[in-house]
């Protein structure tokens, strides 16, 4: 029992349940299965981006360019759709393009040895700037998109929209990546102790680059989902969303110092934010309070993380005695 309580994921799950209970006490309809499914679907882009971000943060980097990447690839998707390119080709292109934008970040961090926060702060502005250059600031609206392009994320499959299934697929793939591949292990080694990773024959730069490519590819894919679902593309879509993505990771217990974090924590961090964002307007709380509550959640999560990082040697030794 005590070990269950000590697990960060268990505490986060408990926090989510308490949050849902509080909301339900004022607005029971919120916790109906249908509404919860809607909340999950609505949070899907955040979940997908947060998982990409998690991989980057685990390697002791940060990717602030994800929302700009999403906006740029989303715009390209809308423009390709306008030019009559078939949907499968659009999907391949946005993923490849997103991965390329991520690779740019990764190469700058690797080869020029610039801190990732600076690199991605720069590319974030550049990527938004490219959208403006492509469009002169014009919007692409719903009537300029084909029905097929807009419908895919909303298609219902086994009771859930494709959008939600995509998030589920990304969750599964990330679990496999992180737990079952050498690259996934390398992410943690590089973030946990870069020196030791070098001494083990792991290239720190290459590994961080791989993380940025994954984050970029997921951002590119989300670019399509976002534009198709909201049926609009312009320079400023998902403005500031990168901060929500980082916040989801932090709340989910992904260590900003690198080397630690779980997929479950990351997903729950995203869901926690998603529930707050969806519930507070329903309950009738002003947007200002939404931001304040999100901010408080981040601070509590960080305080909790640092409190958990105290020395634990004694406890472990006692456990060892019991087992022996």
């Amino acid at each position: 029992m005590s070990s269950l309580l000590k697990s960060r994921e268990a505490i986060l799950a408990l926090a989510i349940l308490i949050l849902l209970a509080l909301i339900a006490s004022r607005f029971p309809g919120f916790v109906s299965p249908l509404n919860l499914a809607n909340v999950f679907t609505d949070t899907s882009p955040l979940i997908i981006l947060a998982l990409g971000q998690m991989v980057v943060i685990v390697t002791k980097c940060i990717d602030l360019s994800v929302a700009a990447n999403l906006a740029l690839t989303g715009m390209i998707a809308a423009m390709m759709n306008g030019a009559g390119v078939p949907l499968p080709l659009i999907l391949l292109t946005v993923i490849a393009l997103g991965a390329t934008l991520g690779a740019v970040n990764g190469l700058l961090v690797w080869k020029l040895d610039i801190p990732s926060i600076v690199v991605t702060l720069g590319t974030m502005t550049i990527y938004r700037g490219i959208i403006f250059l492509l469009t002169d600031g014009k919007w692409i609206n719903a009537h300029e998109m084909t029905e097929g392009f807009k419908a895919l994320p909303r298609l219902i499959f086994l009771g859930l929209p494709i959008m939600a299934w995509m998030a589920v697929a990304v969750i599964v793939l990330t679990v496999v990546l992180v737990r079952r591949t050498a690259l996934g292990r390398a992410f943690f080694a590089v973030g946990g102790n870069a020196h030791a990773a070098v001494y083990t024959g792991i290239s720190v730069g290459r590994t961080q680059m791989a993380a940025f490519v994954i984050s970029g590819a997921l951002a590119g894919f989300t670019g399509y989902l976002w534009v198709a679902r909201y049926a609009v593309a312009y320079v400023d879509i998902a403005g500031g969303f990168e901060l929500d993505v980082v916040a989801a990771c932090v709340i989910g217990g992904i260590a900003i110092a690198g080397g630690a974090g779980t997929v479950a924590g990351c997903v729950m961090g995203a869901l926690f934010l998603g529930i707050i964002k969806n519930a507070l307007p329903v309950v009738g709380i002003s947007p200002f309070w939404q931001m304040a509550i999100s901010g408080a959640a981040i601070l509590i999560a960080i305080a909790f993380n640092s409190r958990n990082q105290g020395p634990k040697g004694r406890i472990i030794l006692k456990k060892a005695e019991h087992r022996a």
């Binding site: 292990r185 943690f188 946990g192 001494y199 024959g201 087992r323």
Partner: protein, 509 residues
């Protein structure tokens, strides 16, 4: 050799008596004494680990002694903080100068005690004028307004010395001040030491280099294994006598070295060079052999090993492993060639804290434990269990975070990690540094077993008893070159230290 307190005409400025200091598992100082006299340079001499750094930290208020007394001008004092030591007039110029790169020369000199105006603000004019006066007094022609990062290392030293003088120091500690200096800069430093002597400062000079000790010191004190051995006037002693006092002990610890059958050459290194770290390194290592590398700290031993392991690239030279000539350009290539390296700094270079034990062990072996690109955790557990059991690792479970283990057990995890790659050559850099006696014995025991199984072992160590007790052969390095090689009866503490500090056979005794 006079072991009694010096009976000069002037009383000592600073006098330590019966100082002891222990750390968990180590007794760093055991009842040592030290006297420093005004206008005299006292050289503190001892091997690595003799307790020299600890005494400096006690004198500068960083450590508190467990026992013993410190007296200035015969009055007992205590240094609970670095500030208190400074106020009492004791100052140290450290191995790596502790200064602020982004501040100006004047700010560096006066940080913490800058002159103030009547409003309590920093009086820049007075500070710069005073800084200029101090710099001139030590013959340094530096602009007080220049930022420190624009200065060379020698000039930084001068700033550190000016800082020492600015707090009206009576005792100046120089901890290997010439380690990072060029020939010309060293001579300027000698002149400065003369200036300080003329001003009546008492100087404690810590150095490994006998030529400079005999050149500038007036008195000497020898420490060995945390104990005071003797002291006296430099004119009454020879290099040979000092060396004997430094090492004078029998190799009394029991080392579990088993006679191993030494087989074919595994690794032949020839003509390895590096632009700044080492030159013309060549040696042959055989199956079943433990080859010791001894030298003073900074002799370039670790740097050679890092080049063999592909962390740094040699500028010249070849490396033959078995029958293949190999060029090792990355650690991955080294591991593939069968060379592994257990670094000295486990915390920084060895274990990945945050990852569980088993994942640390399998990190370089993942290609063997995975199938079709996917990791198999059960295989990883099996591999990790095999090797950690052989090393007698004490842990609750292999799922446990490595960061929660003791130093000795972390060392075992790192060694297990490398053994799991099935290497042909294992390089152990200071394998028992900072670990408790029990773990030490386990590491030594295991090292013998590895050699007995035919693995070729290189052990870099600064502990003479360990080097002599464990090695079949010893290579001594000095200033980036191989100074000597000893085997059999020639492996004596005196020979090793002579070669390491650079005294020829004939000169001594």
């Amino acid at each position: 050799m006079q072991a009694q307190p010096a009976s000069g005409t002037t009383p000592p400025v600073l006098s330590l008596r019966g100082i002891s200091k222990s750390f968990p598992g180590v007794r760093a100082l055991n009842g040592v004494q030290l006297d420093l006299f005004p206008g005299q340079v006292t050289a503190l001499i001892g091997e690595n680990g003799a307790g020299k750094s600890t005494i400096v930290k006690i004198l500068t208020g960083i450590y508190q002694p467990d026992e013993g007394s410190i007296a200035i001008d015969g009055r007992p004092v205590q240094f609970p903080t670095a500030q208190a030591a400074g106020d009492a007039g004791v100052t140290a110029i450290h191995q790596e100068t502790v200064l602020f790169d982004e501040l100006t020369v004047a700010e560096n000199i006066f940080i913490g005690h800058a002159p103030r105006t009547r409003l309590g603000l920093i009086d820049w004019a007075a500070m710069e004028a005073e800084a200029r006066r101090l710099l001139t007094s030590i013959g340094a022609n530096l602009d007080p307004k220049v930022r420190l990062r624009d200065l060379g290392i020698a000039s930084k030293h001068l700033v550190a010395i000016a800082r020492a003088l600015s707090i009206d120091a009576r005792v100046v500690i120089m901890d290997e001040p010439t380690a990072a200096l060029s020939h010309k800069e060293i001579h300027e430093l000698y002149e400065l030491v003369e200036t300080l002597k003329a001003q009546g400062k008492a100087i404690l000079f810590i150095s490994h280099k006998f030529d400079e000790i005999f050149r500038i010191a007036d008195r000497w004190t020898v420490f060995r294994d945390g104990q005071f051995i003797a002291e006296g006037h430099i004119t009454d002693v020879t290099e040979g006598q000092l060396v004997q006092m430094m090492v004078g002990r029998s190799v009394d610890q029991i080392y579990p070295k088993r006679p191993a059958r030494i087989g074919n050459p595994v690794l032949t290194v020839s003509g390895y060079c590096h632009p700044t770290e080492f030159e013309d390194i060549g040696f042959t290592l055989h199956e079943g052999e433990i080859l010791g590398f001894y030298g003073l700290v900074g002799a370039g031993r670790s740097e050679v090993m890092q080049a063999l392991f592909g962390i740094t690239k040699p500028s010249k030279g070849a490396c033959r492993i078995g029958n293949d000539i190999r060029v090792i350009r990355s650690t991955a290539q080294a591991v593939e060639a069968g060379i592994v390296y257990v670094p000295e700094d486990r915390g920084k270079q060895g274990a990945v804290k945050g990852l569980p034990i088993f994942q640390n062990v399998t990190l370089p072996s993942l290609s063997r434990t995975s199938k079709g690109g996917f990791l198999r955790l059960s295989e990883e557990f099996r591999l990790a269990r095999d090797y950690t059991q052989r090393l007698d690792l004490r842990a609750a479970s292999l799922d446990q975070d490595v960061g929660l283990l003791s130093g000795g057990n972390q060392q075992k995890v790192v060694i297990a990690k490398w053994l799991a790659t099935r290497p042909r050559v294992i390089i152990l850099d200071e394998p028992t540094k900072g670990i408790d006696i029990g773990s030490k014995a386990a590491v030594h025991d295991f090292m013998s077993e590895l050699a007995a199984q035919g693995l070729a072992v290189i052990m870099v160590s600064s502990e003479i008893p360990e080097v002599l007790g464990m090695s079949d052969r010893v290579i001594v390095m000095r200033e980036g070159r191989i100074a000597a090689e000893f085997a059999g009866d020639a492996m004596t503490p005196e020979n090793l230290v002579r070669a390491a500090v650079g005294i020829e056979e004939g000169e001594a005794a």
